[in-house]
Symmetry: none
Subunit: 191 residues, 4 copies
DNA sequence: AATGAATGAGAATTCATTCAT
DNA sequence: CATGAATGAATTCTCATTCAT
């Protein structure tokens, strides 16, 4: 029998890591970080409690991993050219994709806002959060400047706040929130 | 010694209740609900752990009380005539007061969003939350209708989302968030 | 009924503290620090696990307390005048009392040597240990100097080593170790 | 390829066993038995955790092996003629070698005293310990008898205690302990 | 009313050991 | 022979809540 290659092992590890993260994502979203125990996660993932610690060094580490994975998934939408310059089309695409992701990744966004509003949890995610978010703000500011918005800095902040607010309102009551119409309205406002 | 009247007792009780709630508000905002222990609260309030349970049924009950007190404080701003009809001046006043309260009651808002984004905490606050928020939405919708906004329902939702988003962004980074300029922009947009 | 005074409360606390320390001493000596769980101690003391942490902030803290209590009990034997000068009679008394304490406090000495020889445990007891032991060495050195021993420093070290060695040998096999005769021999050698 | 002979296999096994034991010795001495995990040992030895169990039945078995190897290394110094009779020269040689070994094998002695003073660890090493130590005592007793010491039994115990005490004191503070001068003093006392 | 000692369920984490590959 | 993923029992510690005083 051919011995398993190192690569195959790596793939197995990676897929189990993903499995654990998905279980955690689901439960964190459903019950919140503090009310989700390692035990619950391991049951959900169908593994033993101990094994968790083979893949993540603590519950906090697991949260961090889940949060950053979600943020990164979101950020790739942004400025697809990676040229630091946002065209009107790109912004429209970004907004559309954002709304799409709000809908599909609702679990992630629940965790995301939980992280933002819980001091102890925010502490865990820490500085790295700002490292990621700040460049995005820069690019938006640049966009508003080029498009002759009166006060680009303010506009950027307002835009960010609006998306956050929409997201948090959608999360609160997904059934009744008119996501599609809100999306059209936002696109209309900004492009 | 003159026996204390029942009224004096009530006043003492009420003021101690307030003391506990203020201590809790401060600590929940600083450390989060889960990382604030009953012990910490009682130390902050200068009373014993046991006495807490004389005023609040449980830690959850205390949270609920703190949250609803804050919401009520906020709601009295709204529609001062209680006539269910919002004038342009009243809306402007409402926005201004909202921004004022965002700044002065930052501790409350931290808890508020923590409540919104933590499923278990939201569960505690429960239905009563919607009972309070829904009428406000109705009044706003009515305002947008009377002022010929194209889609009052959407506009209401967008307005709510925007305020929520502004608040959450301010909370995250109060030092750098341009609250005053954002306020002007919002007033300009809606009145 | 007369209300309990604060002093009575303090006494109750103190006696419970002692109870826990005695239980811990017994079990640490019997099973060693690592093989004695907080659970075992609380059962032995007839209290709940949680209550332990009302009196000691951790298992390590409990160990520290037990060890220092034992060391202090031992040190009061030394130089009863507190004049820093040891007479021949005082040394004889010290040796006699030491042997007495070796016999009666065997549990403590087991822990003591466990602490000395387990790096992680020694770390817990830490610097405070040397703060206590060093002055004793000084006084002994002074004694040997005044009594014209050839090399007081060496003699001090040898004396300390001998007592440690006797103690550890007694602990290992109390039934068969001729403690009384060894004591006479030591007195004869040093006074 | 030439098949490996059984003898070669044995040699490889033996050398790997030694490697593991050396790693364990080093880590047990540094961190103590309980704070050294199988994982740490296997990393130190550059092998897998699983392989450890191919060479040693358990962690306890590994400790036992390490301790007995050290004791045996020490015992061969003793009575080189194996005639059960110790000459004055042999005793001097024995003392000198003992002090030499105290210095070079400090890691072992740390473990040794840890074993002596930790009940659970002593239990592991068990009876075999006494089987080894008792004959040595016999030979020393015989020596003191032949050399007209007043009470050979007591003298033997005292001698053993002194060496143990010296060793434990050296271990505690190798930098400052005057090992060489103590050695001269001991030789002077006993030969 | 007021206290804080006491409880005990439950949390995160560790680690010796096993076993499929 | 060699690996390291997987297990699960055991451990320390926390904390909301109760209750005798």
């Amino acid at each position: 029998m051919a011995p398993r290659t190192s690569k195959q092992f790596e793939e197995m590890r990676e897929s189990k890591r993903k499995l654990i993260m998905e279980s955690a994502l689901k439960l964190f979203a459903k019950h919140g970080f503090f009310d989700t125990s390692i035990n619950m996660i391991s049951v959900e993932a169908g593994i033993s409690k101990g094994l968790m610690y083979n893949y993540f060094k603590s519950k906090e580490d697991l949260l961090r991993s889940v949060v950053f994975q979600g943020i990164n998934k979101f950020l790739v939408l942004f400025d697809p050219d990676h040229d630091g310059v946002l065209t009107k089309t790109e912004l429209k695409f970004f907004i559309e994709e954002t709304f799409c992701i709000i809908e599909t990744d609702i679990s992630f966004w629940k965790i995301y806002f939980s992280v933002l509003s819980q001091p102890q949890v925010l502490k865990i995610v820490g500085e790295k959060f700002w490292e990621i978010v700040n460049p995005v703000f820069k690019i938006l500011e640049n966009y508003f400047e080029r498009n002759n918005f009166k006060n680009p800095k303010i506009e950027t902040r307002l835009f960010g706040a609006l998306l956050d607010g929409i997201c948090i309102n959608y999360i609160l009551d997904p059934e009744n929130f008119p996501l599609e119409e809100i999306k059209q309205k936002v696109i209309e406002l900004y492009t």
